[in-house]
């Protein structure tokens, strides 16, 4: 339970950076932290203390396998979601560089030509 709580704190830190910070790079870091918090949450769902790899060998009893193996599905999901997160992050950084070329600043409050 403590792990889930700490994980949630990590998510809130990311959300804080995303909402409160004005610097574009800090906002991007906020998004990255949130993504990692969610990935960690998915991993925690399949985590089991001193668990074994989910590979069923011949000398293994099915019941002990069920009670000791970790859940492999969240790991597969997290691999996919890390790749997606990388794509988003790369696009955000590229966008930040282009924005700096156009506006000469990283301050989100000064990048405000669209209003209304």
């Amino acid at each position: 339970m403590t792990l889930y709580f700490l994980n949630f704190v990590l998510l809130i830190i990311g959300l804080y950076a995303l909402v409160v910070k004005r610097h574009i790079v800090k906002k991007i870091l906020g998004v990255a932290i949130m993504e990692y918090a969610v990935n960690l949450f998915l991993i925690l769902l399949g985590f089991r203390k001193s668990g074994i790899a989910p590979i069923l060998t011949e000398d293994m009893d099915l019941q002990t396998f069920i009670h000791t193996a970790v859940d492999p599905l969240p790991q597969a999901l997290v691999l996919t979601s890390i790749v997606i997160g990388l794509g988003t992050l790369a696009l955000m950084v590229a966008m930040a560089i282009r924005l700096y070329e156009r506006y000469g600043t990283f301050d989100m409050d000064e990048i405000n030509r669209l209003r209304g």
């Binding site: 949130m34 949450f41 156009r102």
Partner: protein, 494 residues
């Protein structure tokens, strides 16, 4: 038959990569013609599988609770129709429009990725797969919004990107929550688990509900979460505005909400009330903000928020009649809002501006564009006999017959507001006398006019033959939405 389903995502993705490779040698014509052929082939496949009932494809031969399934039922069939028809006409429109960008190779590549993502979202029967396709469509659309790389476009794209990434995080978190309860990410399997164990008030499920409402609400642009929508819609190139407003916010937002809350989690009075509240606020905020806009595309964007509010209200009321109204309005909105954004693109190409205060008297200079945009404006404002009138009428009647008379009054009031600001658009752009600098304006090219005429004809015929459309396309889709157990049994085969 069922092996045709993966083609809806496979064909656009392969075409996109092929365009990147062969486009190195033929930059000019190959990307445009090849994407047109791709889109045409998708329409052909859709015609083959049309009205064949529920079709299930098990990816890799794995049975439903373990593998990823693609499900084509009557609801996804209707959404596929909207997505692929709008995409096809948008590619025709882009054929000439896109020439002003020097490099349009990547435009069509990203466009086809976005199309593949949306087809995937509509077809998938797996929650995590839905997230993956949603991200494919979203990331392509972030890049397309900023395609012109001007300062404003980049700013809009970055805002959209940040909020879209936030939405994705929330959606993934919600999927994790669902997985922690049900131990599965297959939609039908999760739904079966929730129904069998009667988990209506489970805390983790409530948290997932909240996360999904925030996440998909951000994608749909409903009001507390609408900040990105006017910027992104008004800054994007016109074909992308059409795809965003006509299809993307519907597929990623409204369709996903419908699928998750009606087919998977099961609708509860709390969720219904949240939908109705968000819908009412969206309608009113969108309509009032629409008044104050000078930029034509920004006005259309706020009007999109307002019309998405209608759909959300219809889904929230939840009676079969209301859902029919919401789905019919969704179909109609794809028609007339695409038409209006096409018109704004044509007007901007011909006159060089899209500010209402600088335009006027286009009726004589651009007769076809004027005629079609008047039809679009009248349809969205709900003037009979155009299609918007009938769908709004059904939603209003459903509100009254479900006992929400105050809601019906707000719906009628918003319809009048919509009429008012679209009259302002007509008065400032179409009628009146042209200003001096508009003397030499010419009609837009044929390839841009043709899609507008198609949509205008749809707005008229959709109004005249509304009974045929409702009984052949809408009612079957509504039957899927209100029958959660039927969805479970048809996917899991029990």
């Amino acid at each position: 038959m069922n092996t045709l389903l993966p083609l809806f995502t496979a064909i656009p993705i392969c075409s996109a990569i092929l365009i990147l490779i062969i486009g190195k040698f033929d930059k000019k014509n190959f990307p445009r013609i090849w994407s047109l052929l791709t889109s045409l082939s998708l329409l052909f496949i859709l015609a083959v599988i049309w009205d064949k009932g529920t079709i299930i494809h098990e990816m890799g031969g794995w049975k439903p609770p373990f593998g990823v399934v693609l499900v084509k039922d009557n609801l996804s069939q209707m959404m596929l129709l909207i997505v692929n028809v709008v995409a096809f006409l948008t590619i025709i429109y882009s054929y000439v429009y896109i020439i002003k960008f020097e490099d349009y190779l990547r435009f069509f590549t990203l466009f086809l990725f976005m199309l593949a993502g949306m087809n995937g979202v509509v077809l998938t029967g797996d929650l995590f797969n839905l997230f993956v396709f949603l991200e494919i469509a979203s990331i392509a659309s972030y890049a397309l919004v900023g395609y012109g790389v001007d300062a404003e476009e980049l700013e809009a794209s970055f805002k959209y990107l940040i909020l879209g990434a936030l939405a994705s995080v929330f959606i993934l978190f919600g999927i994790g929550m669902i997985y922690s309860i049900a131990g599965s990410v297959n939609m039908a399997d999760v739904a079966k688990f929730i129904v069998e164990n009667n988990l209506g008030g489970n805390n983790a499920l409530l948290m997932a509900t909240g996360l999904f409402i925030v996440g998909f609400g951000l994608k749909a642009g409903l009001v507390p979460f609408h900040a990105w929508l006017p910027d992104a819609h008004s800054s994007a190139p016109a074909p992308i505005s059409v795809m965003l407003s006509g299809v993307l916010i519907k597929v990623l937002g409204i369709y996903s909400l419908i699928r998750i809350f009606y087919s998977v989690i099961g609708i509860t009075p709390v969720v219904s009330n949240i939908f109705i509240t968000m819908g009412v606020i969206s309608m009113l905020v969108g309509a009032f903000m629409g008044f104050g806009q000078d930029d034509m595309k920004r006005m259309f964007a706020f009007s999109s928020i307002s019309q998405m509010g209608y759909i959300a209200v219809g889904i929230g009321i939840g009676t079969p009649l209301a859902i029919v109204g919401a789905l019919f309005h969704l179909l109609n909105h794809a028609g007339f809002k695409s038409l209006l954004f096409f018109s704004s693109g044509a007007i901007q190409t011909s006159t060089g501006t899209r500010n209402l205060s600088e335009l006027g008297g286009l009726r004589k200079k651009m007769p076809v564009t004027s005629a079609t945009s008047v039809i679009g404006a009248l349809s969205i404002a709900g003037v009979p006999p155009f299609n918007g009138f009938w769908s709004k009428l059904i939603i209003i009647l459903a509100a009254f017959s479900a006992g929400y008379s105050w809601l019906g009054a707000i719906l009628v009031f918003t319809a009048f507001l919509t009429l008012a600001y679209y009259l302002r658009f007509q008065k400032n752009v179409i009628f009146g006398e042209p200003t001096v600098r508009l003397k030499n304006v010419k009609e837009a090219p044929f390839m841009m006019i043709m899609p507008m005429v198609v949509f205008a004809v749809f707005c008229l015929l959709g109004g005249v033959f509304n009974g045929w459309i409702i009984s052949n396309i809408i009612i079957p889709a509504q039957g899927i939405i209100t029958n959660q157990l039927g969805y479970i049994s048809s996917v899991l085969g029990i």
